[in-house]
Structures are given as C-alpha cells and as structure tokens.
C-alpha cells in the first residue's frame, strides 16, 4: 500500500496484523466460496489489500446465527432473560464477584467504558471459553478507546440483524457464493482492506475497502472493482458513504447502511436518490453490537434483541418515557463481555410508537471534519487515531471560524504531544491546548466546529 509517509499512524503495515491460515479463517469454506474469494483477491482492479480476515464461524456458530435470525423475526423477547443474566454475571464475572446479586436490575450499579478500559479482563466471565476470543478496538469517538473481547459468532450477529431490518423494508438478502453481499466502505488515509466470504451467507463475498485513493493502484480501480462486485449492500459511515456517492458507479445496491456517526437527513436523501434504494441509519456500539435503526428521518427503532435499554439521568436515575438521558444497555449476547447497565455515552429519549420502543433525539457522534492549513478536510476519525495513543482520558476539539483549534484535555499527555499530534494532521494552524477536567458524567461531544462545511450532513 502506498502510505502517506508523514501520516502519523503506523498500525497498518500490509498483512502485518494477520496470524491465521485461510483454513482457520473460514472453517466452513466450500469450493464455491473459495472461488469467490479467489476472484475478489485476484481481481485486476482490486484494492491494495493490507489485511486478511475470515468469519471464523464453526458449524455450531452458524447454526446459532440462523436460530438468532428466527428469534428476531418473532419480535421483542419477554424480559425474563434479564435477572438470570444478572445472577450469572454476579456469579461468574470477577468485576461483580465481591458483592451479592441484587434482586432487581435497577439495583445493579452502572458501568461504562472507563471501567472497561481500566481492566477489561475483569469483565470476562471466569467460565468463558477463551479459545476463539477476538478483539476489537472501539472507535474512541465517545470516550477513551477500549479493547473489546468478543466471539466470532457475536461479531457476525450483525448479519441476521441486518437481514431482519432489511426484511422489515421488504428487501431480501439473496446471498450465495455467486455474488458479493456486502462491501463495507471507509474513507481514511489509512484503513484495513481485505476480501472475505461469509459461510452464514452461503459463501457470499464480503469486502472491506478504503475509498481513499492511497488504497488503490489507480483511482479508476475503485469504480471498476466496486461495479464488478455489485454488492447487495454497502455499509459505511456518513463520510465514506458521501465519498461513495461521488463515484461514477453504474451498479446499485439493494440498500445502504450507515453507522458510526449520525446520518443527517441531507446526506440520507442524497444517498437514497443516488442509489435509488433504502438508506438505513444504524446505531450501535462495539461492546453490544447494533442497538437501533431507522430507514427515514424518524426515531430510531430498537432492535428486538435480548438487549435491554434504559435511559438514565446524570445522577443514574431512570428517566421516564420521553425524557432524554444516557442510553444504558444490558445485554448478555457477547459471551465474553456480558454487560449490565453499561452507559454508552450516547443520549436519547425512550418512547413508544405503535407499542414498539424507539429512541428519539438520538445524539451520538456528529460527523465533523477539520480544515488543515493546506485547505484539506480532515475527518474527526483521523484525529481520534492520533489522539487516542496519547493516554488522554478525554478531550474536546473545536475549530473556530478562523480555523484556529482549541483542544481541551483531561489527564494524560503533555501539551506538546497534543500539539504535535494535531499538527501532524492539520499542519501549522493556531492551536491552544487547555488541560482541565472534563467530567465523565457529562459526556463531552469530542468534536465541534464553527467552520462552514465542517458538518457532513
């Protein structure tokens, strides 16, 4: 991969992060799926792959995912799973084993990403099988980045969840080894790119690509490759999907799914018109998976998972329906990280529409970009990349109308390190660093800007 030599993130050496054989990546590989994988890997316009990644699904895991899809179709489960989960967590998770199991969920103390960050191992049940443990770093856009342990099966829950919400929209996912079902697009100077297949989708191709020109042999390869894939679905974030919409693609997906940041109505309309298909705004967190979705500008509908959502006040009291507070989740679906009353850092009100729970006024991570001294726009995710390694507990970064940047920091790095990290991306702009105390209860919105064009919406 032709890297920006001055780009201050060194995590993505081509293929340096791989450790498995293909047999280990795809335990259920079929000849047809292997042919699809070969086609994707050897396509003359393929991106400069810098990673390899399989689904790691066993037959048992795949069967569980199929059963999960049926369960979702049955609608919201009765809440009789919650207290058995509390009992199990208090019995097996080190973080909780010093106290008696409470009689009700509301007596369980809340936890958050800071807690997870400081000792993730204390959140893993003592009886959990570690043999297929995988990890993901959270994006770090709503607090310190944390390493989240999970199983390949939990990672793949997205697929039956997507099938569920697509079926609600009347969009079938056809899958099968003769087609590419999903392309997950990024647009960053540095990002993993790989080709994969999904045994859950009967061998369908799955590709992760970086639309940034540095990830391709020629800029035109992006269109040639993506049109050759002709995926059923594109997933991405508002910034990468906006970039996708600018490409002169001739193929159209059956649906576009946006996540990671709030999808504004303007961009949603643009994408819907550009691709002539449903555009879905997803809300989720790495620790718990997908939580809610909306196909329009309305409220976000909760997914009928075994995932309990509470809305809590800053003091930790449950908010009545319709009142805004912090989205707090309880979920036992990740066997390596069961969550009890996990505060997400995102805010919304819980309401009911036609008897079904929805999140209104969801305020997660606004997509913000920053103007570098050169005039180039820099995505807030890139700033997260350079600020995350500095051991800051939290930060808020604001660019004013003149382009000057103020960084308020909480704990950790020296001012000079923060200045160097930000200037590594934005160049010689005026920077003021203000070390201080960003109270964790009032979840800081990390990124804001007064510059015209900074908000991608």
């Amino acid at each position: 991969m032709s890297r920006h030599v001055d780009y201050p993130v060194a995590d993505y050496e081509p293929m340096a992060a791989t450790a498995l054989t293909d047999d280990e990546r795809w335990p259920l590989m079929t000849p047809a799926a292997e042919a699809m994988l070969t086609r994707l890997r050897t396509h003359p316009s393929a991106p400069r792959y810098n990673h390899a990644c399989g689904d790691r699904l066993t037959a048992k895991a795949r069967d569980s995912l199929v059963a999960y899809r049926t369960q979702l179709a049955d609608g919201f489960p009765a809440p009789d799973w919650i207290m058995p989960l509390v009992e199990r967590v208090y019995r097996t998770v080190p973080r909780y084993r010093r106290g008696p199991a409470p009689a009700s969920l509301t007596e369980v103390p809340t936890t958050d990403r800071h807690d997870l960050l400081s000792h993730a191992e204390a959140h893993v049940p003592e009886d959990a099988d570690l043999s297929d443990l995988i990890v993901y770093r959270t994006s770090g856009s709503r607090g310190p980045a944390a390493t989240v342990p999970m199983t390949p099966e939990f990672c793949a829950l997205d697929l039956p969840v997507m099938q569920y919400l697509l079926s609600e929209l009347g969009v079938p996912l056809r899958s099968g080894a003769s087609r590419v079902s999903l392309v997950n697009v990024y647009d960053q100077p540095v990002a993993y790119q790989f080709a994969s297949v999904s045994s859950y989708l009967d061998g369908a191709g799955v590709v992760k690509v970086n639309l940034h020109e540095s990830g391709w042999r020629t800029p035109d390869d992006r269109v040639a490759f993506l049109d050759a894939c002709a995926p059923e679905l594109y997933t991405g974030n508002p910034i990468s999907l906006a970039k996708l919409a600018e490409l002169p693609l001739t193929t159209r997906p059956a649906a576009v799914l946006s996540g990671a940041m709030a999808l504004g109505e303007g961009l949603r309309s643009t994408l819907a018109a550009r691709f002539d298909c449903p555009v879905v705004d997803l809300y989720g967190i790495t620790e718990a998976g997908l939580v809610a979705w909306r196909p329009d500008n309305g409220p976000h509908r909760l997914l009928p998972r075994r995932l309990h959502v509470e809305i809590l006040s800053p003091a930790g009291e449950p908010c009545p329906p319709g009142e805004r507070g912090e989205i707090t989740v309880t979920c036992g679906e990740n066997p390596l990280l069961p969550l009890l009353r996990y505060r997400t850092g995102d805010h919304a009100a819980l309401s009911f529409v036609a008897g079904e729970p929805v999140l209104t006024g969801l305020e997660g991570r606004d997509p913000v970009r920053y103007r570098a001294a050169s005039g180039r726009w820099v995505n807030s995710i890139e700033l997260t990349h350079v600020l995350s390694p500095l051991d800051l507990v939290a930060w808020q970064l604001h660019q004013d109308e003149q382009g000057a940047v103020t960084v308020e920091t909480h704990g950790g790095a020296a001012t000079e390190e923060v200045v160097a990290a930000v200037r590594g991306l934005l160049g010689q702009i005026p920077i003021t660093v203000k070390p201080g105390n960003l109270a964790r209860d009032t979840k800081p919105q990390r990124y804001s800007s007064a510059l015209a064009g900074a908000l991608v919406s």
């Binding site: 450790a19 990644c53 080190p94 003592e126 570690l130 390493t147 342990p149 999904s198 997933t235 974030n237």
Partner: protein, 183 residues
Amino acid sequence: MTDVAVAQLTRRLADTPPDFLADPATVAVPAVVSDVLLMAGGTALDAAAAAPFEANGPRWQRLVLVACWLLTDPSLRASDPAALKSWLTDPALAKLSQLVDPQRFTQDPDRREELARLTLRALSLRPANETPAQSADRLSTVDSVRRQEVLVAAKEAEERAAAVRKAMEEQRAKEAAARYSQV
C-alpha cells in the same frame, strides 16, 4: 451451659505441657482421646474408632493432642462427649493441621485464639462477653482455613486475568473476524 472466656482457653493453650507436644510416635494418641471422652462422661474409643488416631498423619495427631489438652479445661468438661469426639475427627481440624504447624497453636497468640474459637464453635458454646457478630468477626480475622481459601481464590483469579490478558494480546485475537457494519 455458660459462656466461656476465650482468654481462659488461650491461656490454657499457652500452658500446654510438653507431653502434649511430644512426637506422636511416642504417645498413645487414642488413649489420650479416650481419657478426654471418659472425663466428659463418655466411653473410651473402641478399636475401630481408635484406628484413625493411630493411622493418620503426625501433624494431625499433634493437633489432636493439643486439642485434647484444651478440651480438658474445666470450662469445657461438661461438654457432650459426642460433640468432643466429633470435633476431634472433624475434617476442618485435619485441614487446619495441614495449613499450620500444630505447635503454633500453643505458641502464637493468633493461632491460640483461632483454635479456642473454633473449639467453642464446634461445641456450640459462645465466647463470653461478645455478641454473635463480634464473635464471627473475631473468628474471621484469625481463620487460617478461610485465609488460605482467599489466597487460593485470589491466585486463581489472577491466573485467569492473566490468561484473558494474554488471549487479548494474541495476534490471533487481533486479526479478528470480518465486521459487517460500522458502529
């Protein structure tokens, strides 16, 4: 039965005669136990009941001898002989002998208190001038078996935490699996 002063028992343990600390191989342990039972109004051990006191390990035999000395304290003599016998053959006493050198139950103040309190509990007697909560709290602070269990549990927990940290650091874990959405 009246409550018993713990201090009276710990003093008795401090005054344990050398005969009770002798090499068990040189002492007829079943005979000493039988004497204790007879003093309490019970009967001597028969051959079958005597066998374990001859066969089990010397550490346990030593602690049995020390416990016998304690059980002949005037404040305990009215105890039910069956309860005395039950305490002398209690697995908890055997476990204690494995964790702590039996001689320390005569020399170390905390161990003397531990054996005194365990004995009172085994005989369903209450320490004098203490509430049940105070007695339980005091025993927990000198409880060698419980302390050992806590140490073992802490060691196991640390080993597990290290195993999880190692698994999370493995390159195999970091290669991860394909993700299908962005959150």
